[in-house]
Amino acid sequence: MSACCQNTDNWAELERGYRAMLPEDVLAFIDGNQSQDHSESMLIATLHMVQGHYGYLSPGHLEAVAQLMQIPLAKVTGVATFYHYFRLQPRGKYLINVCLGTACYVKGAEKVAQKLTDELGIRFGETSKDGIFSLESTRCVGTCGLAPVVMIGDEVHGPLTPGQIPNLLEGYLARAAEDLVADQPR
């Protein structure tokens, strides 16, 4: 009879946790909609708000939205993956685009790519833990003459050898650190 008289309702505690994951305006938006008819139809609008706030939708955000809107989580992630507009991965400060076009390929882009994944410790489509680099590949950036090339942000680098990669990344890390200092409140 041990469970008989216990309070097994975990909602209050869960709700507290989920509310802590979302910003105030999103919470107010969800709360305002919940009493309305067809409140579940506001899912896409809610996801837009969350992405507008964080730049992407993390699994945690999606779960908090699902729980607070009382919508099955599978449906929420199904919706989030259906629409191109929603991003499920944060983008790093610098997006590294490795050109895997034919020209770069024959000039050893694969080795450069390998070096990048080794140095950053991430795979294609991922973002480094410090949030500074995201690694992606592209078909061609149209600068075949510089092959193999890597685009970091808007800047094109090439021709590159694997040996140059550490120095190259170091430069961007230094820039990111400077920006961080500049952003500090005085």
């Binding site: 579940e40 609008a45 191109h84 507009y85 003459g145 092959a147």
Partner: protein, 727 residues
């Protein structure tokens, strides 16, 4: 009968009229700056700021900056308009800060327009007067063109130079049916904004003697009815790109301040709604739409009146109306332009539609990629609500109706109405089996009408000028005009609104200025990824739903891509197929799997790995998608493939049998060769080759190692002696 509505409208119109009179715009210098997404991207905001600075520095109080939406003349933006009192307005193209400075000094302060920067270089000098002759190509009125020629001859005989009086051809003004009587030539005189009705040569003589020579209006010939796009023609009439258009849906685009209810009301905005509410007969509205033969502008071409009628007769009285603003076709942007440039007009169209079908609520479904459109529509909704035009008891009529925006999130399929409904419901935007149609069971199971933005943009005009008027502008089957987004290898790109039934050639050549770069026209692609190709040989065909379909294409939302001899039809078909494959929602088998296989075959063919049976397979799969896909998008997805095979089979055969790409576009099927006679051995190709496959001594002809060449084309691009052949 219901006087409160009349009173409401009168007091609103009076208030606006007084406000406008107070501004005394007739005696001020108007500087017009476009403000829509593409204008912003082109730098129109910086231009406007620069102008404000100049005005402030000059201390002048008689210059007004007028913010408008987009005129749809994309490649020339930012466009800036300057209108001095009593003069024909001048439009400048590609304006930047430096040019602002010059315009301010030379034109505004000095009174001399800078002709070098006038939009489309339409004239060398600024004429004092202009006469726009309607061409009336649609109404087959006899002698139209000869009257214009005659007038030109008469002017010449009098020794009047074109810089004094300029005569131009314009499209249908849509006033014939308004003024009644037999068809005639209508002539718009600028800057007086007077419209004449001309039937005989004697009329021209009066025009010359009284209007030109004495500067007085010929009252005998004057038409008091105002063409719907008068304001537009008044401002843009001097540019061929514009005056060959008939603007109804776009009549206020680029004319009205999109955030100003007053301006919209000043251009007879909400007059149609007032008329509808005062009448209080929803059936009448439905009837007018039916008479107008207004067909769905999203691509389906279904008669709007019939659709509204279906929803009206449902037993379920909870009904919804939705404006489909999920414009997803690559290359189409007319919906965005209308939402951004004339939001109140779309709102008015929706309220009228809501009243007609008995809806309590309407939704704007707009793609999230259009933030400015969303902001403007939201502003329009809020303003209407604050002014008794939305919400409860609209205009004192007792009609309750409200609007809400729902955002898309980047899914082409959500343009399909059942998918759109799913998306509004907060689901994955996947279509549902039809029937039941949304007019029976739509949003949350209730009768729902979904119309495209452009459809709603026409509603208020139809109510104001009657369904019959609208029907007469178009063809027998399709009333009114259609907006096209003209792009591709054409000189003037942008939005073009013409009566349905206008020939493709007129749109591409007369309005678009023909193929750019002096190349040959190969085909015109209409209808976006769901459309097809019309070969150059068929360019005289009339643009209407049925003829396009018969030719293997569709109207679609109005994308129109001009293709030249440099374009490979297999490659373009592949491009569209890749789009459809990427955008397939994945629900039904033929579309999900079939488009993938079609794309694979096209890729094979463009890589030179195609075999003859591939053509049969393409055909078989395409027919499968057409016949068995769940929604219209899947059924239309193979259109580019089928129509390109139909009209350009030889190109497919060249790829498959000869392993040759006639347009020299498909990389795998071309090679670069150095013409030894032209090559002087400058080595620039060698130095620019990324794979070092070019060899040769200095000052001697070079050679490309074909086995190593990756066909990047660098050598072809850098050679200064045209010594490299692409074969």
């Amino acid at each position: 009968m219901s006087l409160p509505v009349r009173d409401f409208y009168r007091s609103m119109a009076d208030r606006v009229g007084k406000n406008l009179a107070d501004q005394d715009l007739g005696n001020k210098i108007l500087v017009q700056v476009g403000s829509a997404t593409c204008e912003h991207a082109a730098g129109s905001q910086a231009v406007a700021e620069e102008f404000v600075r100049h005005i402030r520095a000059s201390g002048r109080k008689d210059i007004i900056i007028h913010r408008t939406g987009c005129t749809g003349r994309c490649s020339r933006e930012p466009i800036l308009g300057v209108q001095l009192p009593g003069q024909i307005p001048v439009k400048y193209e590609r304006v930047n800060r430096d040019l602002v400075h010059r315009i301010f000094i030379e034109h505004i302060q000095g009174g001399t327009p800078i002709m070098k920067h006038v939009l489309d270089h339409s004239t060398e000098v600024m004429p004092e007067r202009e006469f726009l002759f309607c061409e009336g190509s649609r109404c087959q009125r006899p002698g139209g063109e000869s009257l214009r020629d005659r007038f030109n001859a008469m002017l010449a005989a009098r020794g009047i130079e074109p810089h004094q009086v300029h005569v131009a051809a314009a499209s249908c003004f849509g006033v014939c049916s308004l003024a009644g009587g037999a068809p005639a030539t209508y002539v718009l005189a600028r800057p007086e904004k007077v419209l004449y009705r001309i039937t005989r040569e004697e009329d021209l003589a009066d025009l010359l003697a009284i209007h030109v020579a004495e500067g007085r209006v010929v009252e005998r010939l004057r038409v008091l009815e105002e063409p719907i796009a008068l304001e537009f023609l008044e401002r843009y009439g001097d540019v061929a790109f514009f005056n060959r258009q008939s603007r109804i849906a776009l009549r206020n685009a680029g004319v009205v301040d999109p955030d100003s209810l007053d301006e919209y009301v000043g251009f007879d905005g909400f007059k149609a709604l007032a008329a509808v509410l005062e009448r209080g007969e929803p059936e009448w509205v439905v009837n007018e739409m039916t008479k107008a033969r207004l067909r769905g502008r999203g691509g389906g071409g279904f008669l709007t009146g019939t659709k509204w009628g279906f929803a009206r007769k449902q037993a379920d009285t909870t009904r919804f109306i939705i404006c489909n603003g999920d414009e997803g076709d690559p290359g189409a942007f007319m919906d965005r332009s209308m939402l951004e440039s004339d939001p109140f007009n779309i709102v008015e169209g929706m309220i009228i539609g809501g009243f007609a079908i008995g809806a309590q609520k309407g939704f704007f479904y707009i793609r999230a990629e259009y933030p400015l459109a969303i902001r403007r529509i939201q502003h329009a909704i809020d303003t209407c609500r604050a002014n008794g035009l939305l919400g409860t008891d609209i205009m004192g009529s007792g009609f309750d109706f409200d609007l809400e925006i729902r955002l898309g999130a980047g899914a082409f399929v959500c343009g399909e109405e059942t998918a759109l409904i799913r998306s509004i419901e907060g689901e994955r935007g996947q279509p549902k089996v039809r029937p039941p149609y949304p007019t029976d069971r739509g949003l949350w199971g209730h009768p729902t009408v979904i119309n495209n933005v452009e459809t709603f943009a026409n509603v208020s005009a139809i109510v104001r000028f009657s369904g019959d008027w609208y029907a007469r502008i178009g063809t027998e089957k399709s009333g009114g005009t259609k907006v096209f987004a003209l792009a591709g290898k054409v000189r003037h790109t942008g939005l073009v609104e013409v009566p349905l039934g206008t020939s493709l050639s007129r749109i591409v050549n007369d309005i678009g200025g023909g193929v750019s770069g002096g190349k040959q026209l190969k085909a015109i692609q209409t209808g976006g990824p769901a459309g097809g190709f019309i070969p150059a040989s068929m360019q005289d065909m009339e643009v209407d739903f049925e003829p396009l379909q018969k030719a293997g294409s569709i109207m679609g939302s109005g994308g129109m891509i001009v293709l030249s001899e440099d374009d490979c039809m297999v490659d373009i078909a592949k491009f569209y197929m890749a789009f459809s494959q990427e955008e397939s929602c994945g629900k039904c088998t033929p579309c999900r799997e079939g488009t993938t296989r079609i794309l694979e075959i096209l890729e094979r063919i463009t890589q030179g790995k195609g075999v003859l049976e591939d053509l049969d397979k393409l055909h078989r799969l395409s027919r499968l998608c057409q016949r068995t896909s769940l929604c219209g998008l899947g059924r239309a997805a193979p259109n580019p493939v089928l129509s390109s095979i139909k009209h350009f089979r030889a190109e497919y055969l060249a790829h498959i049998q000869d392993k040759h790409c006639p347009a020299k576009k498909c990389v795998a099927l071309i090679r670069y060769e150095i013409n030894a006679e032209k090559c002087i051995g400058c080595t620039i190709c060698d130095r620019n080759c990324p794979v070092e496959c070019i060899t040769g001594a200095r000052k001697e002809a070079h050679v490309i190692d074909q086995a190593a060449c990756i066909k990047c084309g660098n050598c072809f691009d850098v050679c200064k002696f045209a010594a490299i052949d692409r074969v």
